[in-house]
Amino acid sequence: MQKNVLEERQNQVIRKEEGANLKISCDKESTAGAVSQRACVFCGSRVVLYPIADALHLVHGPIGCAVYTWDIRGALSSGPELHRLSFSTDLQERDVIFGGEKKLAAALDELIDRHKPKAAFVYSTCIVGIIGDDLEAVCKKVSEEKKIPVLPVKSEGFKGNKREGYRAACNAMFRLVGTGDTTGIPEKSINILGDFNLAGEIWMIREMYEKIGVHIVANITGDGRVEHIKRAHGASLNVVQCSGATMGLADMMKKEYGIPAIRVSYFGIEDMAESIYAVADYFKDDEMMRKARQVVKGELSIIYPKIQEYRKALSGKKAAIYVGGAFKAFSLVKAFRLLGMDVVMVGSQTGTESEYRELQEITDPGTIIVDDSNPLELSSFLQEKNVDIFVGGVKERPIAYKLGVAFCDHNHERKEALAGFIGMLNFAREVYSSVMSPVWRFMPRSEAHNED
């Protein structure tokens, strides 16, 4: 029985043992009353579709869902910024009783006329499912009137977790794919899936691919455009950053259009390099591979010496990781290793069994591995492991700070690009900037330590 862990959750927390392969319980609904860090289906859909900057994103429901997701992400656009506005039908009691379809249709009419978007996504929220509005019908009708795709997103909050939201988003996008003209798309072309252009990350990644001679058809969804997604089926390859968020779309595109997909990660030096090589490899193009090597070498020669400096300061420090998807955790474990740091805890909101297995493989003995955790657990892990830095999102931040532990934001509202080679350098600097701050020595934790 682990202290600070609810009985129902005992199997969702393990401590890695050398040689053993422990089974972790995961992929289940959050325990009521456990104060999970998870969000909901709506959140998953919103995360994925959000960066499509020339679409209207209308949240159909009471005001909360729209207002809590207003401009909270750092997904940048090189052009239109319609995605940064928060649109809602703001359902009132009357609408709940008599149905919200009419209001939805009127709102769409109003907003499409006002903003002239290239498409509209209409997000279901909890009660829309309950009151039985026929979104499909409303969207179809408005679409015909306005001559733009109007796509329902079946993201009722209670119908699962974030991953169901990813699926709903992929379903909505898949209705766009295949509706555009693919003329002129060269053979050596890809779609970039699963990067959301936080702090401009996709721009750096595109540049890498373009440098080795690959054409990019669609960003899905960072700095995304409706027209690009419509013709995404013209690409030869889907390169999927595997947060799991967009894998569903890649799968559907493979099935429908026969487009193969490869899984990559842009976090950390190794994974980033591998992402470039994998594409060059796929196209079996020696010149491309030569350029890929050159690109990687060039980037490394810039960042490596600087990373070594940070490593000198950070070596031996202890890190804890708690992120949304387990895939990001792999890259973080590797990134900390590159900085000479020890990962002593790693967890995710929505990891799968195979992902947790992989985490066990790459971590050191004694590392805590946890699924769908909560503040009480996380705080006890930080204390138990005497952690130097915690990596997570907004909801994990005050836990670290309250205990006087350094923190690195690795969430969707971050201002620093953490993907790509420069991203690794930024990550090192971010970690350094928090761990090396003198403020920690004034925290009760340090003061108590000093008094020992």
Binding site: A32, G33, A34, A39, K159, R397, K402
Partner: protein, 454 residues
């Protein structure tokens, strides 16, 4: 001028939050309590995230984490399981349970479910007090949720008392932790006990710690709430609170506690009224420290009045906050041109007009139920010089290249929102300095010469 022009169907960039969020904030101000949302997991997480962005403090909100099958068969079992788990892990003295749009729509009967749960756990010594509040997010805003939760706490806890003590209850509404500390500081200088309900001054603005607190220390003490029925009077801040959400009126109706409704004590006159009320109730003069603050504040108004005179301000946010800020702006010679709120109490216009009376050359536009799209539209003709409100106005300020003075909630693009003092003479001083200096900074930076003196 009351209706929004034109009357849009959709809401863009809302100037309000949802009802259950307000309830969780109010519950956070009760000693050793855990806020609990009966609904799907996402609500709790989104609200925690939102609240954390402002307070930079842990904000645990439990959830019954309903899934698809609960939406069909009812959320009772998950609610009970959740209460059990929260009790086991947090050992709270009170759990404040707010409903959500989902559970209201599927028809879960919260009081009945809690009754069942209480029966189930009968005899358990550590059983927390359970306080339900109905907060469907499709009606009202976070402020209605906040007030309703406070009223629910009084309704659930306060006991009938034969005697009347000299205790004074203050029901401040949703102020900053610094504001609440200021009220506590004020109350410490009188010779009677005060109960401030709720009190988020420690729970949402606490020190760094050696050991993580499962529930942050602080909050209104439960025994004090129980005894409120014997209070000499209850002072409740806010002109726009609906009677059915008013904890003060409940104390009056149910326990005969004399009720004093005041505005938020923002600016000179509303603060004067607050101190006058305290004097009436305690028989004591305003403590010298506040008289001195008042004197210096008025002195500073003379010194600085020219830098703000006639400047056109847009004020937005929660209705009562806007009323208080407008009252203050009218006093210092700033001209409020638009007072906007996402709330729809029906009392907003009258309250704003009252505080403006005799001080402004023209009554501002006053609009309930506004969103930022509408505020921005109106701003085009209003030529504002300054915005006063929370962080959500930043984009408008940026677009129009005018300063914004951040007050209220949420403030998530600056640090220290929880430490802003809005109330009392000292709060007025703080607001005045911020506003005058924001205008001076703009003028100085825009000037070709970059002059050194004002």
């Amino acid at each position: 001028m009351k209706t929004k022009m034109p009357n849009y169907v959709s809401t863009t960039n809302a100037c309000k939050l949802c009802k259950p969020m307000g309830a969780t904030l109010a519950f956070r101000g009760i000693e050793c309590s855990v806020p609990f949302l009966h609904g799907s997991q996402g609500c709790a997480t989104y609200m925690r995230r939102y609240i954390i962005s402002h307070f930079n403090e842990p904000m645990d909100i439990a959830s019954s984490s309903l899934g698809e099958k609960h939406a069909i068969f009812g959320g009772g079992p998950n609610l009970k399981q959740g209460l059990k788990n929260v009790t086991e892990k947090f050992h709270p003295k009170l759990i404040g349970i707010a409903s959500t749009c989902l559970t209201e729509t599927i028809g879960d009967d919260l009081p009945m479910l809690l009754h069942e749960y209480r029966e189930m756990t009968k005899g358990n010594q550590d059983a927390p007090i359970l306080v339900p509040v109905s907060t469907p997010s499709y009606s009202g805003t976070h402020m209605e949720g906040f007030h309703a939760a406070v009223r629910a706490v009084v309704g659930a806890l306060t006991e009938v008392s034969a005697e009347r003590t000299n205790n004074i209850a203050i029901i401040p509404g949703f102020l900053s932790p610094e504001d609440i500390r200021h009220i506590k500081d004020i109350s410490s200088r009188y010779n009677v006990p005060f109960t401030i309900l709720p009190d988020i001054s420690d729970t949402l603005d606490g020190p760094a710690l050696l050991e993580y607190e499962k529930i942050p220390h602080g909050g209104t003490e439960i025994p004090s709430i129980k005894k409120l029925g014997s209070a000499a009077a209850a002072i409740e801040f806010g002109w726009t609170i609906d009677n059915i959400d008013s904890a003060g009126l409940l104390l009056k109706e149910k326990f005969g506690v004399p009720h004093r409704r005041l505005g938020l004590p923002i600016g000179l006159r509303e603060t004067d009224v607050f101190f006058q009320t305290l004097q009436d109730l305690t028989g004591l003069d305003t403590p010298a420290v506040y008289e001195n603050q008042r004197g210096r504040f008025i002195d500073s108004l003379a010194d600085g009045h020219k830098y703000v005179f006639g400047k056109r301000a847009i004020v937005y946010g929660e209705e009562d906050l806007v009323v208080g800020l407008t009252s203050f702006l009218a006093e210092i010679g700033v001209r409020p041109v638009l007072c906007a709120s996402g709330g729809k109490s029906g009392r907003f216009e009258h309250a704003v007009k009252s505080v403006c009376e005799g001080l402004v050359p023209e009554i501002p536009q006053i609009h309930e139920g506004m969103d930022f799209y509408e505020i921005e539209k109106l701003a085009e003709d209003l030529e504002p010089d300054i915005l006063i409100g929370h962080s959500k106005g930043y984009h408008l300020a940026r677009k129009r290249n005018i300063p914004i003075v951040r007050v209220g909630f949420p403030i998530h693009d600056r640090i220290g929102g929880q430490r802003i003092l809005h109330i009392g003479y000292q709060g007025a001083q703080n607001l005045f300095d911020c506003i005058a200096n924001a205008l001076l900074e703009k003028k100085q930076n825009d000037s070709e010469t970059g002059y050194s003196y004002m």
